[in-house]
C-alpha cells in the first residue's frame, strides 16, 4: 500500500511484519523513531509474540540480541554512531558467533566533536566486523532491504546491518510502498537456527579457539560472506518477483552507457547525484553513476563489470580514513586492479554538511576534464583551515580546535544551509 510516511516509521512497519521475537535497542539519535514505533507495536499487542526490552546501554542491547538469537529467536536492534561504537565488542562477537541478527544503522557521524548528523563513519568503523552491510538509497529501499536482510541473515547465519542515512532518510517523510503481512510471510519463512541453545540437544557456543583452528574458523566466516555474495542477487531477484519492484542486489547503474566518468557512491546521496548526472548529460558531459547496495560482502566483480567501460571513476563517500584517504574508494580501486582506470576520491557530507548538486557538478566536470585530483574534500572551507593552522603556529595554547573553527565559521557564514 502506498503511504506518505516517515522513513523510520516505514522501517518500523516492515520490521514488525518480519515478526521479530526479541527487539532490544537503546535510544540514540537519529534511530529513536524506529525503536519507539516498534515498541508501540509490541506494547499494543499488534506485534506478538515479541519481547521489547529497554536496556541500559548499546552494549547491553547487542548482548541481549546475541542471547536471543542464540536461543533461537529472530532478533532485531537498531543504533547509530556512538551507540555502534559502544557496542562494538558485541558487534564483532555477534558476527563471530554467526548469529543472524538484523540491525538498522541510522548512519551518523562519530565524535569528537560530538555531532548528531549524517555521514558514514559509523558503518565504515565496523567494516571488518563480519556483518553484511547493505546501504539504502531511499526510504523505499530501506524498507525493502530489511525484508531481504532477515532472509539473507538467516540463510547464511550472519548478522546483517541495513544502513540508512540518519535524518536524511530516517526523518524524511516520503512515498513508500509498504507490503502486506501475507506478502512478507510468504517471502520470509520462520527462522530455523543452525545452532541453538536447546536443552534437549545441548551445545556449547562461543568457546575458546586456539591457534590450531582460529584461522580456519575465521576463514569460514569469510566463506559465509562469499556465500552471501551469491545469495544477495538471488534474494533480490526473488524479491522483485514477489513484491513487483526491484530492491537490493549488488550495484545499481544509472546512465552508465557511454559514460566516460562514472561516479560511485552509497546511500541517499545517490538521489542528488542522479539529478546532477541528468543535468550534466543534458549539457553533453558523459557521466553516469553506479550505486553500491552491498558494501560487505563487497561485490568486486559486479563493480569491475559496471565500471570497465569508464575512462575514470569518481568515488563520492561520506567517510574517510584519517591519515590516508577514501575507504570505499580503496575497495573500488582494488576491484579495478589491472584495468588502469584512475580512481579519484571525493569526501563529502561529513557530519551532515549538505551535499549540493552544484558542488558535485563542478567536481564531475573537473573529472571530465581530467582536472580532478586524487583526494578532494567537497566544499571544504580552506579559509577556516588556514586560520586555525595559523593560530596553532602562532601560539602553543591555541585552545580547542573545534571551538575555534566554529567561531571563525559563524563570523562569516550565513546562518542557513
Amino acid at each position: 500500500m502506498l503511504r506518505q510516511i516517515e522513513g523510520s516509521r516505514a522501517v518500523a512497519e516492515v520490521v514488525s511484519m518480519c515478526r521479530p521475537e526479541v527487539v532490544c535497542a537503546y535510544p540514540i539519535s537519529p534511530q529513536t523513531h524506529i525503536i519507539e514505533a516498534v515498541g508501540r507495536k509490541v506494547k499494543s499487542g499488534e506485534l506478538a509474540p515479541c519481547e521489547f526490552i529497554n536496556v541500559e546501554s548499546e552494549f547491553a542491547a547487542m548482548s541481549v540480541s546475541i542471547g536471543a538469537s542464540a536461543a533461537g529467536a529472530r532478533a532485531y536492534t537498531a543504533t547509530a554512531s556512538q551507540g555502534l561504537l559502544f557496542m562494538i565488542e558485541a558487534v564483532f562477537n555477534a558476527a563471530g558467533l554467526g548469529l543472524p541478527i538484523v540491525m538498522t544503522l541510522a548512519n551518523r557521524a562519530i565524535g569528537a566533536p560530538i555531532n548528531i548528523w549524517n555521514d558514514h563513519s559509523d558503518a565504515m568503523a565496523v567494516r571488518d566486523s563480519g556483518w553484511v552491510q547493505l546501504f539504502a538509497e531511499t526510504n523505499q529501499d530501506a524498507a525493502d532491504l530489511h525484508i531481504q536482510a532477515f532472509r539473507l541473515a538467516e540463510e547464511v547465519s550472519l548478522p546483517v546491518m541495513v544502513c540508512m542515512d540518519g535524518y536524511v532518510l530516517t526523518h524524511a517523510v516520503e512515498r513508500v510502498d509498504l507490503p502486506g503481512q501475507q506478502e512478507v510471510d510468504s517471502f520470509l519463512p520462520p527462522y530455523v537456527p543452525r545452532q541453538v541453545l536447546d536443552p534437549s540437544e545441548p551445545v556449547s557456543i562461543g568457546a575458546m579457539v586456539g591457534p590450531e583452528a582460529f584461522e580456519e574458523v575465521r576463514y569460514l566466516a569469510h566463506v559465509r560472506q562469499l556465500q552471501a555474495l551469491e545469495l544477495i542477487p538471488e534474494v533480490a531477484g526473488e524479491f522483485a518477483e514477489h513484491f513487483g519492484r526491484p530492491a537490493g542486489g549488488f550495484v545499481r547503474p544509472y546512465r552508465t552507457e557511454g559514460a566516460e566518468t562514472i561516479v560511485v557512491a552509497m546511500g541517499s546521496v545517490l538521489g542528488t547525484i542522479k539529478d546532477t548526472v541528468d543535468a550534466l548529460r543534458e549539457k553533453g558531459t558523459a557521466v553516469g553513476v553506479l550505486g553500491i547496495t552491498s558494501f560487505r560482502p563487497f561485490p568486486g566483480a559486479a563493480l569491475r563489470d559496471g565500471l570497465a567501460g569508464a575512462k575514470r571513476v569518481v568515488v563520492v563517500e561520506k567517510a574517510f580514513s584519517i591519515g590516508f584517504g577514501g575507504v570505499l574508494s580503496t575497495d573500488v580501486a582494488m576491484a579495478l586492479t589491472g584495468l588502469s582506470i584512475p580512481v579519484s576520491t571525493v569526501v563529502a557530507g561529513l557530519g551532515g554538511r549538505p551535499i549540493m548538486g552544484k558542488s558535485l557538478a563542478a567536481v564531475f566536470v573537473d573529472a571530465d576534464h581530467g582536472r580532478l585530483g586524487e583526494l578532494t574534500f567537497l566544499d571544504l572551507r580552506k579559509d577556516l583551515i588556514d586560520k586555525e593552522l595559523a593560530r596553532m603556529a602562532d601560539r602553543r595554547r591555541s585552545g580547542p580546535t573545534a571551538e575555534n573553527v566554529l567561531r571563525d565559521a559563524q563570523s562569516v557564514l550565513p546562518s542557513l544551509t
Partner: protein, 196 residues
C-alpha cells in the same frame, strides 16, 4: 518542483507542518518529500523544516535553498535568522502576524515580490480561537493553500484528519478553513487596492 521552507521555533509544530503539507500533496496524487533541518535544539530555538512537491519522483536530498514559498511561524525570527535567503523572485511569503509587512520592517521585501504573493495571517490567534493552543502550523497551511494553490484546502483538511483525531482534528480543520477564507478575502482587498 515547488519547494517550501518553514521557519519557526521548537514547540510550534514546524516539522509537523512540513509533514502535513507533504501528506496533503500525496493525497492529491503528487510526489512529496518533507524533512526537518535536523537540529538538536530545544523548545523555543529556531527550527526549519522543508517540503518539496512535484509530479514525479523527487530524488535530491539537498536542503531547500531556493524556496518557492516561505512560511514564517514566528515573526520574532526576523532579526535572528536570514529568513528570506534564496527566496525565488516570484516566491510566496506567509507570515504569522496581525501586522503588515511594513510594520514588521519588511518594506524592501514588499518591493521585491509580487504583492499578492505576500500575506500575513494572525495564525496564533486563529489557532487559539479554534484549538485553545497557540500552535499556528495547521492554520498557516490553510493560508498557504489559499495564497499559492499548491495544494487544495481539501487535501490539507484530509492531512489534518489523518494525523489528528477527534476534537483536535476538527478544531485544526476549522482554523485552517478560517485562515484560508482570511487569505482569500485579503487577496480580494489587495486586488482592488492595486489593480495593476
Amino acid at each position: 518542483m515547488f519547494q517550501v521552507r518553514i521557519h519557526g521555533r521548537g514547540g510550534q509544530g514546524v516539522v509537523t507542518a512540513a509533514e502535513l503539507l507533504s501528506a496533503a500533496a500525496f493525497a492529491g496524487g503528487l510526489w512529496s518529500q518533507a524533512f526537518p533541518s535536523f537540529g538538536s535544539e530545544r523548545t523555543g530555538a529556531p527550527v526549519v523544516a522543508y517540503c518539496r512537491i512535484d509530479d514525479h519522483e523527487i530524488r535530491t536530498r539537498e536542503p531547500v535553498v531556493e524556496p518557492d514559498a516561505l512560511i514564517v511561524q514566528d515573526v520574532t525570527l526576523i532579526h535572528q535568522v536570514d529568513l528570506f535567503a534564496g527566496l525565488k523572485p516570484e516566491g510566496y511569503v506567509l507570515m504569522n502576524s496581525g501586522r503588515s509587512f511594513e510594520e514588521l520592517g519588511l518594506g524592501d521585501l514588499v518591493l521585491r515580490l509580487p504583492r499578492d504573493h505576500m500575506l500575513n495571517v494572525p495564525a496564533t490567534e486563529l489557532a487559539l480561537k479554534h484549538t485553545g493552543r497557540p500552535v499556528p502550523n495547521a492554520v498557516l497551511l490553510g493560508g498557504l493553500a489559499a495564497v499559492s494553490g499548491v495544494v487544495p484546502l481539501d487535501a490539507v483538511r484530509d492531512a489534518i484528519t489523518q494525523r489528528f483525531t477527534g476534537s483536535v482534528a476538527e478544531a485544526n480543520v476549522a482554523a485552517a478553513q478560517e485562515a484560508y477564507d482570511f487569505v482569500k478575502n485579503e487577496e480580494g482587498v489587495l486586488a482592488h487596492a492595486s489593480p495593476d
